[in-house]
Amino acid sequence: MSLAAAIRDRDVAELPGKRDEDWRWTDLRGLIRTLPEPSQPFEGDVGEGPFDALTADSRVLVNGGDVTIAMGANEDAAVALRLVSRGAGAHAARVTVVVGEAARLRLFESYESEGASVSQASLTISLAAGATLERIVLTAEDAEAVSVSQAEVQLAPKSQYSQTVIASGARRQRLETRVLHPGGHATLRLDGIYLLADKRHSDQTTVVTHASVDGTTVQLTKGVVRDQARGVFQGRIVVEEGADRTDARMGHHALILSDRAEVDAKPELEIYADDVACAHGNTVGALDEDALFYARQRGMSEPEARALLTEAFIGEVVDRIEHEGARDVVRAWAAERLRA
């Protein structure tokens, strides 16, 4: 069951839906009665991408296609990857990322759609020993778009992978990351932010499998939902038998700012090894009324106080982005949405 297969075969029976445990909160089968026609090639100007100021090396896929980003040993690069959708067709993209031994890549990935497209991006990402990748994913999707991104990440010992997914939702949006963690002092940071308004939906799903000893995973996702928006967080960390000395921490925290907004969260730890340090925390609530009064007593209007406190809530995740330029882009992006 996958959106990619459904698009390829033009068969709605292949769409994932409620009956698939992993997709019960992001039901595509119930949503899409007929798949749209395949997208036409788009020849027009797609405008600027959100990370254009950070690198001159930009790879743009419009309405699907294939791209490979391969880096040799010890290379260092920053690449913007733009997955652009125009119009109301269906399409799929395939992306391969290979980071060679001791190489370093900053990958700035964006999902940009205009129109009621149905799209899938499938990414295969592999890191060699000692390689470093920081992946920043930002979405700017049409309110009518259906968009799924699925990344399969393979780490090697002593590699470092850091990811921050920043999502504003779509009609249905799913951003999925599956990581095979070999241990061996490889480190993984897997963060997320979602700021959702109107009737937008966003699903961040991650699965990390620790296969051997001495692996580290830190994960922090924070979300803010208002209006009738719906945020979904599913995080699973599996520590296989023998993957001792694994250290894995997962946190998901959400603010619900209106009665009709919704957050569904499922943090899961599956531990089959004995000697591990694992923890998870999950909270869903409203803004602290005492802090809100305190800020208002000092002179801030209610909307201003709410925006300040909400920005601060999200700020903890933003601050963990290592690339300074990307951090500034994300901070400005969040401020613009929260002060709207």
Partner: protein, 249 residues
């Protein structure tokens, strides 16, 4: 300046203030003393507009303007400042950012220009030096991980920077050692002026040795039951609140 007349207020349907009247003229410092549960903190929250306090009667005006009709931020812009008994921790917001946001919000509300960044930093450096606050502390999230004494000093710093006209100090001495008490009191006394007035709420007389009041009021059972000069505070320290509690009952 402040004029409170026959004020009644309830929390969750339970009446806490039962006909409180109080007048604090400009240029004066008045102390409110009283036993636990007398309504001291309720008075500070009612005057600043906190949610959950229902005004069931009476009036409160500042220079003739109805305070009770204004939102908390509108009251702040008119110069009402409350130094909290328990200052809130604001994770993720550096103290400098918080204070600058508040100051500019007040200025905008009064139709004044926002303060420039260099001007703001100059002011923050000067005021924090006065209060012996390490300037680097202002770059940290407001009050997060601060000691009780540090939090109180941050309250006085905000007060000094926002330069309010009517100051309410709610149990400002709690959690302060004797050195911190002196620093905080000096900060408060520096703000005394003919245009300003202060209401100092305290359970103990100790603070009033440092911030000398013009008048002392005893709040018991939701009403002012006695008023007098500074000597009244000493009498309360000696004899306790018992006879006023009986009077209120």
């Amino acid at each position: 300046m402040l004029n409170v007349s026959n004020l009644h207020a309830a929390v969750d349907g339970k009446e806490i203030l039962k006909g409180l009247s109080l007048e604090v003229p400009a240029g004066q410092v008045h102390a409110i003393m009283g036993p636990n549960g007398a309504g001291k903190s309720t008075l500070s929250y009612v005057l600043t507009g906190r949610d959950g306090y229902e005004i069931t009667g009476g009036t409160a005006t500042l220079d003739g303007e109805d305070l009770l009709a204004l939102s908390p931020d509108e009251r702040a812009a008119r110069g009402v400042f409350l130094s909290f008994q328990y200052p809130l921790e604001i994770p993720g917001v550096p103290a400098l950012t918080f204070i600058r946001t508040a100051l500019n919000a007040q200025r905008r509300a009064r139709g004044e220009a926002e303060i420039s960044a260099p001007e703001f930093l100059k002011l923050a450096r000067a005021k924090s030096a006065d209060l012996k606050i390490d300037f680097d502390m202002l770059k940290r999230a407001l009050n997060v991980g601060f000691s009780g004494g540090e939090k109180k000093r941050m309250e006085i710093l905000q007060m000094a920077m926002l330069s309010p006209r009517f100051l309410i100090l709610d149990e400002t001495d709690s959690g302060l050692d004797i050195d911190a008490l002196r620093i905080v009191s000096d900060g408060v006394n520096a703000l005394r002026s003919p245009e300003r007035a202060m209401l100092v709420i305290t359970h103990y007389q100790r603070l009033l040795d440092y911030i000398k009041p013009d008048r002392v009021h005893v709040l018991s059972g939701g009403r002012i039951v006695a008023s007098g000069g500074p000597e009244l505070a000493h009498e309360l320290e000696r004899e306790g609140y018992e006879r006023y509690e009986k009077a209120a009952a």
